[in-house]
């Protein structure tokens, strides 16, 4: 029979558990703009845009010029994605545009068309280029006006930079204008290495590549929110509300969406290009070189057959070393899911640099150049999919070794629930059975610093 105290403890325990589950399993906020029944309606916006297109055609005929007026006619608009918004006295509408902002092949931003209704009921439009701050995107994933950090560039419909705004955690902290020295547009795909040029009144010149692939030099200065005016048009600014930045975060590549988080330059420092790592071995000649393959295993529970332990689920990495005349190159890499949470079960794969990996056992093999080359070829172009049970880090290393004619000690073990597969715990135990007589190290250690990528 339960005492009242026991009963209360039980109720508290159950209540705590339920609350914890609810808190931890809550869904992310919707990444999409909340549509408002008010705001500039789609038909009006569409009519206005049609008129702008007609005027552009007339201008083209009249001036025989194509480049200056062509930007608007190149815009592809999916009007089904149009949303009307209302902020105070301002009615406006937003729609995603084709084309994204890239830098060094990484998507860094996205574009939208903004159509606003001024106080005298006339319409005007701008192309917005929204470039979230890298750290903000990495930490938030979902882009929202209320906590946005980054830059919004305002272009006219002929793709001339008019102004821009700088945000920090949802607050306006700076403004942007075309560079007073020179607004340079170049059809190039490389970023100009221009250091910020200090100017008067705190304006500094910077540059970036816009959605048209042009290098744009602009001036930027940090100001207090109170001193920043939206000097464009008479309709006031967007500083007090409105979610013109809003978009899906981390979605990966559709027009008008935020860049995928993992694709930002420098944001996922661990993810590597295996080709560039393997290329380093070309710098040493094959003839006269000693080539070694080392398999490093971090067992989940060292020396025990458990699949999870103090080292989580463990890991298997592969190391390649080429030594010639005292010169040595070592690269140690591992195979991972490029996902988080339960998505890790089955996800696109990625290769990580395993420098500094703390391993519990390892085993080494000397190979000849042709075998080494086959392993390099496999590692340079790894399988695209990671699967926790079917093709994980241990399966990857095992396959790489087989390409080079190396048969590893048995990496297969019981995964639980009646399934078997390759896993670090099983490989670790098998290596321990081989012992030091078979070039195995059962004392563990730390993987040395890799050579790194070669271009």
């Amino acid at each position: 029979m339960q005492t009242p105290v026991n009963h209360k403890i039980t109720i508290c325990f159950v209540a705590f558990f339920c609350v914890a589950s609810m808190i931890s399993c809550r869904k992310e906020e919707s990444p999409f703009i909340e549509t408002s029944p008010s705001g500039l309606n789609r038909k009006e916006a569409q009519n206005w845009f049609g008129q702008q297109l007609q005027q552009t055609d007339h201008a083209r005929v009249k001036t025989y010029s194509i480049d200056s007026v062509d930007a608007i006619s190149k815009l592809e608009i999916d009007w089904d994605k149009y949303t009307g918004e209302k902020t105070g006295k301002l009615d406006y509408g937003l729609v995603s545009l084709n084309g994204q902002v890239f830098n060094n092949n990484y998507q860094t931003g996205y574009r939208k068309l903004l159509i606003e209704k001024n106080q005298n009921d006339t319409l005007s439009g701008h192309i917005l280029e929204i470039i979230p701050d890298g750290l903000y995107l990495q930490t938030h994933g979902i882009i929202q006006r209320k906590d946005f950090s980054g830059r919004v560039f305002f272009y006219d419909l002929h793709y001339r930079l008019k102004k821009g705004l700088v945000y920090e955690n949802g607050t306006l902290t700076g403004e942007i204008k075309p560079s007073s020295n020179k607004t340079q547009l170049q059809r190039e795909v490389t970023v100009m290495k221009v250091a910020p040029i200090p100017g008067i009144d705190g304006w500094h010149d910077h540059n970036y590549i816009n959605g048209e692939g042009e290098v744009v030099i602009y001036s930027e200065r940090i100001s207090s929110p109170a001193t920043i005016n939206d000097n464009f048009g008479s309709s006031g600014g967007f500083t007090s509300g409105g979610d013109f930045t809003g978009s899906g975060g981390g979605g990966g590549g559709a027009a008008g969406t935020a860049p995928p988080v993992s694709n930002l330059p420098g944001e996922n420092n661990n993810k590597i290009d295996p080709k560039s790592y393997m290329k380093c071995f070309q710098s040493l000649p094959d003839a006269g070189s000693k080539m070694t393959i080392t398999v490093y295993v971090q067992e989940p529970a060292p020396g025990l057959p458990f699949n999870i332990g103090s080292n989580s689920v463990g890991h298997t990495a592969i190391g390649l070393t080429k030594t010639y005349n005292g010169q040595s190159i070592t690269q140690v890499i591992g195979f991972y899911p490029d996902a988080t949470g339960k998505e890790k079960m089955h996800a696109p794969s990625k290769i990580l640099d395993n420098s500094g990996l703390s391993y519990t056992v390892s085993i080494s093999y000397t190979v000849i150049a042709s075998e080494f080359s086959k392993i390099i070829n496999f590692l340079s172009d790894p399988p695209k999919i990671y699967d926790l049970t079917q093709y994980n880090c241990t399966s990857f290393v095992n396959e790489a070794c087989l390409k080079g004619g190396i048969k590893l000690p048995d990496p297969t073990g019981n995964m639980g629930l009646g399934t078997s597969g390759m896993m670090p715990s099983a490989l670790g135990l098998s290596i321990r059975q081989v012992g030091s007589t078979g070039n195995a190290n059962v004392n563990g250690g730390t993987v040395p610093l890799n050579h790194g990528p070669c271009n």
Binding site: I308, V313, G334, Y336, P337, L388
Partner: protein, 108 residues
């Protein structure tokens, strides 16, 4: 009621000692004072031990940062209600005892 408690205890234990914990784990992240060193834990070896090793190597290469502030900071918040992390909190508590510094704080 006893059965419910036993069931909940089983769930807590299972979520901590089976690969469920691996699937539900957060990616713990770390940084130094000026954000020039950052590290994200990943499943499979990219763990706190590796973070400490790489940070040691970073400080060796950057003595000026070692002099300025050699502390490693955690950038994640501790969420004690996540019962599947309790084992980590008990047996690998060092990462949770690091000072907290949000990812963007103090970055120019």
């Amino acid at each position: 009621m006893k059965k419910i408690i036993i069931l909940l205890l089983c769930l807590i234990i299972l979520s901590n000692i089976t690969p469920l914990a691996f699937l539900m784990a957060d990616n713990y992240t770390y940084r130094n004072y000026n954000n020039k060193f950052t590290f994200t834990e990943e499943s499979g070896g990219h763990d706190f031990k590796m973070a400490k090793t790489l940070y040691r190597w970073y400080l060796d290469k950057n003595p000026q940062d070692e002099k300025a502030d050699n502390k490693l900071y955690r950038t994640f918040k501790i969420k004690p209600w996540q019962f599947w992390t309790w084992r980590e909190m008990i047996f690998n508590h060092e990462r949770f005892s690091l000072p907290y510094l949000p990812l963007k704080a103090g970055v120019n």
